[in-house]
Every structure is written in C-alpha cells, then in structure tokens.
Amino acid sequence: MQLTEEERKEAVEKSREILARYDGSRGGLIPALQQIQDVLGYVPAEAMREAAGHFGMPAVDVYGVVTFYNQFRLTPPGRHQVKVCMGTACHMKGGNIIMESWERVLKVKVGETTPDREFSLERVACVGCCTMAPVALVNETVHGKMTPTKVDGLYFSHQLANQQKKEGMPE
C-alpha cells in the first residue's frame, strides 16, 4: 500500500506525540499501538519504527505484535469496510468461500485495502446473527445468507452508486 508523503509525516508526528506519554517499559507497547491505531485508523510502518525506537526493541518484534493480534490493521481503512464473518456458524456455512469471493472482486487479500482506498477487507468473529450465516458486513450494514453472486451484486451496486455520484457532481 503506497502512502502519501503527507500520510507518512502525519504517522510519524502522531506516533511521536502518543509515544511521548509512555516511559520506555515494554508493557506500554500494546496500549501505545492501540492509541496510534485509534488516531490514525491503522498502524503504518512509520509508527512501528517509531515504537521500536521508543521501546528499544527491534522493529521486527513490533511487527510481530501487530501481525499477531487481529485488532491491528496495517493498511488504512477503505471508505467502505467489508467485514466477512468467520465465526463458528459462518465458518460452517462457507464463510471462507465468501471471503474468497470478496478477495476476487476487490483484487486484494484479507487485511488489505484496494489501491483506490475504496474498499478494505477484514475478517471478524461472530457478529451475532448466526441464523443468517454466512454473514458479511459492508460498513455497518449486515448482509446475511451470502453467496458469491451476492458479493458480485454488492460490489456492482457500489460501483454503480459511485459512478452516479460522479456523474451527478459536475466539477
């Protein structure tokens, strides 16, 4: 994921600001990363480097922590956030097929964001509506009984809506 110069600068500045509140003891690493994600929406490489420097540990170990926990994301969230349920019920009902379908239409892997920042794709555990398994969320909207063709449909209608918005908004 390419970040803009501005995003990079913001990442470094915000991370420094947050890290300054922590003394160097390693127990602060996870809370600091969480705060960074709260502010930036994700944990960019710059932030991991800053954190590594602050806590006096190799950068790869910060990367290890960030990739270990599902709650951290490495790429900026997209304008539309797709979350595919991989909870027990959805798993049994083929949640992975739904995930693959999203990966196919969006051309990104789970945990990534499309280059135009339009969509990001994540996995979540049970979202609480197992009777509708398999479930996917687009932003806050729950879509139940998902199928690969429904994925295509959802993607298509988003594209369409976007296009209409563009056409309806002459510069």
Binding site: A45, P58, A59, V60, D61, Y63, G64, T67
Partner: protein
C-alpha cells in the same frame, strides 16, 4: 548452581552440575534425546518443539528435558510408551508442514529432522496427517544465505541467535498456521538490514536457513 549431583539416565549413572538441564546432561554423556529448539547458552528455553520429552521417576507425566534441571538422585528414562507417543505425534505435526525435499536440500544428512527420524524409528512422511505446503517464496536475496520458509519448523533458534550475535533482523510474525520467521514488514533478507553474518544458518537445525553454496 552448587556443585555436582548424581543422576541416572536410562540406568546409566551420570555426574552433572546441579540444575544442569537433563537434555544437556544426556547429550554430554552420549545419550540422545530428540530436540530442535534448545540452545545451550539460552537459559530460558522456549520449549516449543515438544520433542525432548523424558520420564522422571516420581513425576506424574513426561516432562521436557530442556527445561528440567538435574537434582540429586533423579532417575530419568528417555523412552516410554507415553514419551514415544508424544514425540511421534509432535514429529508428525512438524513434518506435516515441512517441505521435504532432502535430495536437493543443503542440510541433507546434517538435518535434525533426519536424525530424529533415524534415532526414533519415525518416518519423514507425516503419517496420519495431511501434508500442508505453505508455498511461500524462497528468499535468496541475501549475499550468503538462502531462506526457505517452507522448511522452517519455528524452533526460534535463528531468531534468538540473530538477536544475540547478529543484527536483530529476524523475528516471529503472524499467528497460527501463518506463523513465520521473517523480517520487519517481511522485507527480503537482502533489503532488511541483515548484516550477513550467517549465524542464523548455523543455528538452523533444518534446511530453512542455509549457507549458499
């Protein structure tokens, strides 16, 4: 560590330093116990490979020899039905996602997995388990070492060594089946700030990190 203690391993009387880990006491005395993850200089062993199980008289169940310190009068057995079962299953699990291509592997004949299989009469085929190849790209970007993550058994020896004597480039990342030894942002070794000391290749018990020939 205070003085010497006497223990027996498989009936053989052994004198060793008090608190010396059973694994090293055994190996020093020519008794083989399977092991992948232990490093003698590391005094807080990871005990992650789960292959070094032994029975100790008076203990309810098998324990890992790399974490158990010798104490006066300990009677250790390196084999039992329970031990063999644990080792066999552990070994099968490791082999189930180890890319086995001994014929072309730089560690052929010096590989710890081959040694364990030979010593314990185990097969390199994962037996009851399905083979799961992760199909990750082989990294040959570093000058002197080649890294094939598909062969990695996640013992952690390279990571420990890299932090101790190398540039601290290697670490663990991800979780579960995706767990891997890698660098910051999974950069290829050649671009990762690796100093090329190749201590990791020396530490690797299998063919995952090896010197380029």
């Amino acid at each position: 560590m205070s003085g010497k203690v006497r223990i027996t391993i498989d009936g053989k009387a052994i004198e060793t330093a008090a608190g010396e880990k059973i694994l090293w006491a055994a190996l020093d005395n020519g008794i083989y116990i399977p092991h992948l993850c232990s490093i003698r200089e590391n005094h807080s062993p990871f005990a992650s490979c789960r292959l070094c199980f032994v029975e100790i008289e008076g203990y309810p169940g098998p324990v890992t020899a790399c974490t158990e310190g010798a104490a006066e009068g300990m009677a250790v057995r390196t084999r039992s039905e329970r031990v063999d079962r644990l080792v066999r299953t552990g070994f099968e699990m490791i082999m189930s996602n180890h890319r086995t291509e001994c014929g072309v592997c730089p560690k052929n004949r010096s590989c710890a997995l081959q040694k364990i299989a030979k010593e314990r009469g185990l097969r390199l085929k994962p037996g009851r388990l399905e083979k799961l190849d992760r199909n990750l790209p082989v990294d040959d970007t570093a000058e002197s070492i080649i890294y094939d993550p598909n062969k990695c058994v996640l013992c952690g020896r390279c990571v420990w060594t890299c932090k101790k004597t190398g540039s601290g480039t290697l670490g663990f990342a991800k979780r579960g089946f995706d767990r891997m030894v890698t660098t910051f942002l999974e950069a290829p070794l050649g671009e990762s700030g690796c100093s090329g000391c190749s201590a990791c290749a020396e530490a690797c018990p299998v063919g995952a990190l090896a010197l380029k020939r």
